[in-house]
């Protein structure tokens, strides 16, 4: 199962086509629309979470692109400001996936972003506010 939050930008001519529906029909993908807006000049923007097998996901996104839809990644990630981290270890109390862990015997705090589920618990648990949440690629309205 592969899942990602995407931002779709529809050029003005394309908003009339039910392209998102075809993602399910032809590519066996499920979607959850998080936001959908049509602007005054008829171009549209939609934020959705798209889930399915990785292969279908890839083909589905390619289909969208072929229809003239601009597809951007909207997912977020947690990053660490290493200049702020004091390696105390308080974050390891709340991290559910072990992305934040203590390296022994030196006792420094390692952050493995691959293991991070972006639950954001560490953002407020960090005493020096070293953990930040941010868009993983381009910003939303770029």
């Amino acid at each position: 199962m592969y899942s990602k939050i995407l931002v779709l930008q529809f050029p003005s001519g394309e908003v009339k086509k039910p392209v998102v529906c075809y993602l399910t029909k032809y590519y066996d993908l499920s979607f959850n629309i998080l936001k959908a807006t049509i602007f005054p000049r008829k171009e549209g923007i939609m934020v959705l979470e798209l889930s399915g097998s990785k292969k279908n996901f890839k083909n589905g996104v390619q289909y969208l692109k072929n229809q003239g839809v601009v597809v951007k990644n909207a997912s977020q990630e947690v990053t660490r400001d290493n200049s702020k981290c004091i390696h105390c270890g308080a974050c390891t109390a709340v991290c559910p996936t072990g992305a934040l862990s203590i390296k022994r015997p030196e006792m420094w705090v390692a952050f493995d972003q691959k293991k991070c589920s972006v639950c954001e618990l560490c953002v407020r648990a960090c005493p020096t506010r070293a953990m930040k949440i941010q868009p993983s690629s381009e910003t939303f309205f770029e």
Binding site: I86, H87, C88, A90, A93, R104, P127
Partner: protein
């Protein structure tokens, strides 16, 4: 002194620092040295052992004098970046406490509160060279007619800025667990329900007062690493309790000795004084502190060779017992066990979480060692040592 085979004085050690012949070891390095050479030989070889700790230390703050304005003001109420300071001193003197939250902070109204800015952050901003907004009000007198004053100030604008921490470097502290059914937010961090994690806060074998458990070399005038600069121990800290029960090696089993420390904030650094936000609890200041232990004889070097295995602390329930003053613990655990990542409480495995930075503590001990080796830092002989009873 009778009874010791090795006898060194403060003057002799300082002379060695001056001539560049001093031998310094950190509190971690000395463990193996004493193990290999024995205490007597180690005491002959090594002159100073450096310690370090870096932790949130709530009983911290700073005195400021912010210069008179024209016309003059008797500043009764003072704020820095909207964080209130205590102004009931002379006209333009005040004290800013590390745990004072910013005014209009929602505190714990939306639980657990975030506490993003407070006294500790103001102190860090000032030592980082950043400008803070100062506001003061007074009721007006013949000699101090002005009633309100606002200024942007940096640390260079302040004639005096003195870090003054009434209680730092606690000798041993509780290991906290939460045996209730709900997550709680404490000054020792987040504690998950039903003993989900055990939090602790000291540097163990690197921590200053574990290396001189009977305060034989620490007292008024002991020169220390404080906040990246040089400070002094000026008194025993508040809640100093030397009578706590001790194990055979002299290490207290519960919170015991503390130090009152002071230093010129102007020569300190934002790397070693860091504003802290403890979710659901409040703001504080993480303080970097390092005390050099002069090896006057073989007894003192034996104390400095204490290792994490030899240091034990009590496990206390912060869900019910601590807030209600119930004097109970759930056994004792060694710092070696705490640092291993897992302890046993009530027969159950509990993952441990440190709140004190061992990485930074080690760096402090290393820096202090370098300062002494380079002849930049001399050992301060105390006028009297901290009380032991």
């Amino acid at each position: 002194m009778a009874g010791y085979r090795v006898n060194k004085t403060y003057a002799e050690i300082n002379e060695k620092i001056r001539s560049g012949q001093v031998v310094v070891a950190t509190a971690e390095e000395i463990i193996d040295i004493v193990d290999e050479k024995g205490a007597e030989e180690a005491a002959r070889t090594v002159d100073v052992v450096t310690t370090g700790t870096f932790s949130p230390m709530c009983s911290s703050g700073a005195f400021f004098n912010f210069k008179q304005s024209v016309p003059a003001i008797k500043a009764s109420n003072v704020w820095f970046n909207n964080v209130p300071a205590y102004g009931a001193l002379a006209a333009v003197d005040c004290f800013l406490g590390a745990t004072e939250p910013c005014e209009e902070d929602p505190l714990n109204k939306v639980w657990p509160g975030e506490f993003n800015y407070g006294g500790g952050h103001v102190i860090q901003d000032l030592v980082a060279g950043r400008t803070v907004h100062m506001r003061a009000t007074g009721y007006g007198t013949s000699c101090y007619p002005k009633r309100e004053e606002e200024r942007e100030i940096s640390i260079d604008d302040l004639p005096q800025a003195i870090l003054c921490n009434p209680r730092n470097g606690y000798q041993n502290y509780n290991c906290a667990i939460n045996l209730t059914n709900k997550t709680i937010y404490t000054y020792l961090g987040t504690l998950k329900p039903k003993g989900g994690n055990a939090n602790y806060s000291t540097a163990g074998q690197l921590s200053p007062l574990f290396n001189d458990p009977y305060y034989k070399t620490i007292g008024l005038g002991t020169r220390i690493f404080l906040g990246g600069g040089i400070g002094y121990v000026t008194w025993h800290g508040t809640q100093h309790k030397p009578t706590a029960q001790r194990s055979k090696n002299g290490i207290p089993m519960s919170p015991a000795g503390t130090m009152w420390v002071m230093g010129d904030l102007k020569q300190m650094s934002p790397d070693w004084l860091v504003g802290i936000s403890m979710q659901g609890y409040g703001v504080s200041l993480a303080v970097g502190l390092g005390v050099p232990i002069p090896i006057l004889n073989e007894e003192i070097v034996r104390y400095t060779a204490v290792a994490d295995e030899d240091i034990h602390c009590q496990v206390v329930d912060y869900g019910n017992d601590y807030p209600n003053g119930v004097d109970r613990n759930y056994g004792y655990v060694s710092y070696a066990a705490l640092k291993s990542g897992m302890i046993h409480v009530n027969g159950k495995e509990v993952p441990t979480v440190p709140v004190s930075s061992v990485v930074k503590a080690r760096e402090i001990a290393m820096r202090l060692k370098k300062w002494i080796e380079n002849g930049e830092f001399f050992i301060g002989e105390p006028q009297f040592t901290l009380p032991v009873s």
